[in-house]
């Protein structure tokens, strides 16, 4: 009895985490205050990390939390902390793009189900192989994907420089 419960515990947690991730993602869209939205996004990231962990790729889970929560969201929270809570734009829940956005979402889901879902390989048959280890990940990462990674980081640096430039346009003192 207890053995079957323990054996299916992974699956139960997988569904719980996936459900919570979906719920927080939905909350992120419906909430109004920026800090709540950020918190919903953080919990979504953490639950996604949990999903990765349950699928056996612990270091991807760690990266998920480390990068998205520990780095990206920290900066977002930092920026939101400095917003003026009395700003008029925070009183409206949705922007003018609500309906175009909703239509776009439906189209995206359609495209995903039609294009990708059908091509997905089915669940693996037979006994599961070795879990994807950190070593295997590093080898693939440094041999096949290093260029993509470097390009992304160049793009990010470009974005930072662009952001600085945008801020400085409106400044009188050129030294900032």
């Amino acid at each position: 009895m207890i053995d079957t419960v323990l054996a299916s515990l992974d699956t139960v947690f997988l569904y719980v985490f996936a459900g919570c991730a979906f719920l927080s993602a939905a909350l992120m869209l419906f909430l109004k205050e920026p800090m709540r939205v950020a918190l919903a996004l953080i919990s979504c990231m953490v639950f996604l990390g949990g999903v990765y962990g349950l699928l056996g790729v612990h270091f991807i889970a760690a990266f998920q939390v480390l990068i998205y929560v520990g780095a990206v969201m920290v900066f977002m929270v930092y920026a939101i902390m400095l917003l003026d809570p009395r700003d008029e734009s925070m009183k409206v829940r949705y922007s003018h793009f609500l309906w175009p956005g909703a239509v776009g979402y439906v189209l995206l889901v359609e495209a995903l189900t039609a294009g990708i879902w059908n091509d997905l390989p089915g669940p693996p048959r037979g006994p599961a192989g070795e879990p994807f280890s950190l070593k295997a990940f590093s080898e693939v990462f440094l041999s096949e994907y290093w260029l993509h990674f470097e390009l992304t980081s160049v793009l990010l640096v470009a974005a930072v420089v662009a952001a600085l430039a945008v801020i400085r346009v409106n400044r009188k003192d050129p030294r900032g």
Binding site: D3, M35, R36, L39, H58, A62, V65
Partner: protein, 379 residues
């Protein structure tokens, strides 16, 4: 299956009680050690009177921790008319929980072999062995950084949601300081990863049970003395204690980001800080001081540099390893409290300057030199 569950639950209970125990004891150690350093008597007022007699048990003030806990539990949980009740309620837990979770990947002992411990256990456990660690994961180090990054968000949320200017300033300071020192913390450990070739903490500890140059124990601090110093400094800054206590800065910001917290919510922040002292001690022990092993010790017993060996029974090894780990952690906690009560202090701009213009380049240089040496040695 049931045996695995039992062992896991045992380990979790052990880890939580060790951390809670350290948290409580350290509040007392902090006072008593400060008193010793300042040539005072220190905490000695809290006592338990044996009912019906006039015998008062003072025990060097050890009951002060209990008195503190009781006081915080029964105090009024005063709440400000905050801007955001949700973030205000969630923040102490976001600070406190990850600190506990970090311990999940720290090995607090070698391998436990229940059947070798006591023969009748073999019937239940079979011939299984368990590494004494809650979660044996190959990316342990990454998980430590993932969790310790989350506490930053808690500190910032606490300051922001209080809608108090002192708290907000404290939160901003906490955010910038922790982000800066987190980076240094990561860089100091990269050299160790190069040497050990793994991010699995248990493998790191096992790597340290040999010898280097024939007689020195192969501890991280021997390979990377420089990184060890930087790591401890950055870790203390990460914990926001003196000399890096600017986010709390009593003389400037009342209590910084938790100014508006009272009763046990404030207690959680304090408790998280004390537990983090123990966590820093545990991390430093694991990375740099050979973890749970005594010098020249491994799971089988001792292997001395001269070639002599001394085999120990399994039970003795397990107990020695657990006690060694706790003793090392306690010594490091005491060392951190020693630094705190020598009362050095930075100015806020100096704190950030110190991180970016002094520690960061040093950590980077240390990493580059390590990489070059490892390459030259052909590893």
């Amino acid at each position: 299956m049931l045996a695995d569950l039992l062992v896991s639950v045992l380990f979790i209970v052990y880890a939580i009680s060790v951390l809670m125990g350290f948290g409580t004891i350290l509040t007392w150690v902090e006072r008593k050690q400060a008193a010793v350093m300042a040539d005072r008597i220190g905490a000695n007022r809290a006592y338990i009177r044996i009912p019906g007699t006039q015998v008062k048990l003072v025990w060097w003030g050890l009951f002060h921790g209990m008195a503190d806990g009781l006081k915080m539990l029964v105090k009024e949980d005063w709440k400000p008319r905050t801007y955001d009740w949700y973030a205000y309620a969630v923040a102490p837990w976001v600070v406190f929980t990850p600190v506990l979770l970090v311990f999940a990947v720290i090995p607090f002992g070698g391998t436990l072999h229940p059947a070798h411990l006591w023969a009748p256990l073999a019937g239940f456990f079979g011939d299984k062995s368990y590494p004494m660690q809650i979660a044996t994961l190959d990316g342990g180090l990454l998980i430590i950084f993932a969790f310790s990054g989350m506490t930053i968000i808690g500190a910032m949320l606490a300051g922001w949601s209080s809608s108090n200017k002192f708290a907000l300033l404290g939160a901003l300071r906490a955010g910038s300081q922790m982000i800066s020192y987190e980076l240094v913390l990561g860089l100091t450990l990269l050299g160790l990863i190069l040497i050990y070739g793994t991010v699995n903490l248990d493998a790191m500890v096992r790597h340290q049970s040999g010898t280097v140059l024939g007689f020195l124990p192969a501890w991280g601090i021997v390979y990377q003395p420089f990184a060890a110093t930087l790591f401890l400094t950055a870790a203390i800054a990460e914990n926001k204690r003196i000399p890096f206590d600017l986010p709390e800065a009593e003389s400037e910001l009342i209590a910084g980001y938790y100014t508006e917290y009272s009763a046990m919510k404030m207690g959680l922040f304090m408790f998280a800080e004390f537990i983090e002292i123990a966590i820093i001690g545990a991390l430093f022990t694991t990375f740099f001081l050979g973890g749970y092993n005594l010098p020249y010790m491994n799971d089988a017993g001792f292997a001395f540099p001269g070639g002599g060996t001394a085999a120990l029974p399994h039970g003795a090894v397990v107990v020695t390893q657990m006690v060694t780990f706790l003793a090392k952690v306690f010594l490091l906690c005491s060392f951190q409290i020693l630094i705190r009560w020598s009362l050095p202090r930075f100015r806020y701009d100096q704190v950030l300057m110190f991180a970016w213009k002094f520690m960061f380049p040093l950590a980077l240089a240390n990493l580059v030199i390590t990489a070059v040496v490892m390459w030259a040695l052909g590893k």
